[in-house]
């Protein structure tokens, strides 16, 4: 019987592995016949699995405007991700999706000045949006990116940031690291304080992603600067099994993060129990 169920994955292949940092690698994935395995919108996720090891949801890091392949930047932090960090190019993996709502790139973000704020691996889901906005540059206003990492060696795809983002017209990149380090003449300090210091114009639409504590403190600073919670978007991380709002794991209030999210504006989150 040829089943057609969203829980049944298909096989794709890892065609490139980039070592970004000591614990983050970016995996390029093609379909078995060399095409793009699935079509997505920025901020959507896909379920990756290695049979016998596990299955988990990852945000798709590459922009939908990339016609050839999709990429996932993955931090080593559990069973499946440790396994993934050991694989070599040519390894086949199982994939299903895409899942979730994605960022409103054709809605609330369109025509706006955008402020992306990311901490650590939190840049992974934002890179998809940032590169989408760069591709359709005239549809968006000024783009600011504030990106914090533990050290200068912990930025994901530092080359793209230096060689492309920093040279893009109307785009400013503000990097910061947690502690002073040799050969680093950039900003030192945590993201929330850096955002306060930079003091952005409150007409910007904000896209925020990072560790929960960074999100919480940055949000406080943004509100103090005069931003409304309706102009700030984030993407949530919860444990997921099905990806389609049925297995119950990512249920927060009357929402399922996998299908109603993972992207929410903070006024939407204000209506939900604080359990994410």
């Amino acid at each position: 019987m040829n089943s057609n169920d969203t829980l049944i994955p298909f096989v794709a292949v890892v065609t490139d592995i980039r070592v970004d940092t000591a614990d983050i690698k970016t995996f390029r994935v093609h379909s078995l016949d060399g095409d793009k395995p699935l079509k997505h919108i920025p901020g959507q996720c896909a379920m990756l699995s290695i049979p016998g090891v596990g299955e988990a949801m990852f945000s798709i890091t590459s922009s939908p405007t990339n016609e050839d392949f999709i990429e996932f930047s993955i931090k080593k932090c559990g069973c499946l991700t440790e396994w993934l960090h050991r694989i070599e190019v040519g390894q086949q993996i199982c994939i299903r999706g895409p899942y979730g709502n994605g960022f409103p790139v054709e809605g609330a973000l369109k025509g706006k000045d955008l402020l992306f704020i990311a901490g650590g691996i939190g840049l992974a889901p934002l890179r998809s949006v940032i590169n989408y906005c760069r591709h359709f540059r005239s549809n968006y206003g000024i783009i600011d990116v504030v990106y914090g990492a533990r050290s200068k060696d912990d930025f994901v795809d530092y080359e793209e940031i230096e060689n492309e983002w920093k040279k893009e017209d109307g785009m400013k990149v503000h990097l910061t690291i947690d502690r002073p380090q040799e050969n680093w003449d950039g900003h030192v300090g945590f993201v929330p304080a850096f955002v306060k210091e930079l003091g952005f114009d409150t007409t910007k639409t904000v896209i925020l992603c990072g560790p929960p504590i960074m999100i919480k403190l940055t949000l406080e600073e943004l509100i103090k600067l005069g931003f409304e919670n309706t102009q700030i978007f984030t993407t949530l991380e919860m444990r997921m099994k099905c990806g389609v709002g049925k297995c119950g794991r990512c249920n927060v209030g009357n929402k399922y993060v996998c299908k109603d999210g993972p992207v929410f504006s903070f006024d939407q989150l204000d209506e939900l129990p604080d359990e994410y």
Binding site: M1, S3, L7, I8, P51, Q92, C94, P212, K246, C247
Partner: protein, 342 residues
Amino acid sequence: MTYKLNGIQLNEFFARVASDKKLYLPVDTENGARFEEWTEGKTLSSKLNTVRSAKDFFFPQVQGIVDFKLEGKNIEVIDRREEVKDFVVFGVRACDAAAFAVLDRVFLSEHVDSFYAEKRNAATVITLACSNPEETCFCSSFGIDASAPGGDVEARLVEDALYLSPLTEKGEAFVESIKDLLVSADDAVVEADKALIKAKIAKLPLASLKPADLRDKQLETFESEAWAELSQSCLGCGSCTFVCPTCQCYDIRDFDTGHEVKRFRCWDSCMYSDFTLMAAENPRHTQPERFRQRFMHKLVYFPMNNDGVYGCVGCGRCLKKCPVSLNIVKVMKRIGGVKNEQ
């Protein structure tokens, strides 16, 4: 239209149904009543309800999804799924039948779960009116009528005679297939039986329990101080979720046989500490938070998303099975339900 068996015994009726399709019905075992496939010699349980709910027919405890073969860097997906053959379930009570409608809202909504759907399509559900409801019953709290339990065919036993009323196309087809065993019945008998059952239900201790409409009070209810107290003795054993006819949370796991990997889904419980555990953190660290999630989902979140339909059908199984006597009735009374007037 209502029919009744033309003087034959129940077991003759079962034998006839089972000659065509697999027939499942509640039978008595040393561990209480449970649904089993009917074979010669098995008789219908006289118990009001089965220990486990009837959800197993459509959402079994373990469901194979797909198999994989791994060789070097290569993976092969092997789909061994077989077509589900039509089957008949007899003796489903009103609560469990209403629970199917709750599960339908989950599994048959967008991104239809084909594993559930194919079983649901294959089944003819024959319900059985509750002649003797028990003290733990409170289906009427959720507007469920145990005298008219629904399903494809509604059955009732009145003075040992079986009455059948088809309600759906599937039900009509079922009745048609055994027409030679049936005679037309007097509707007055059915009406009298319904009235009798309703009178019994009205006298049950939980008859006056009504859930509050908390759809506009999500945050207020979530923040209620009652949860800490209500959940104090919860062991997190998950018994309530496993016997619950509407609990549908599941896990997806892989089993490595040594030759290949079998991916399956199995029941899970939001009461378990690892349910939301991620590599980096866990949004529900404590048992009171997990306890709250289960009841908020049934009494607040589910109705919010489903036109006011509650995620509880008042079957009473959790009242009987909780080792520390916690249950949804206690929760309903504390978070806005009408107090039991007893």
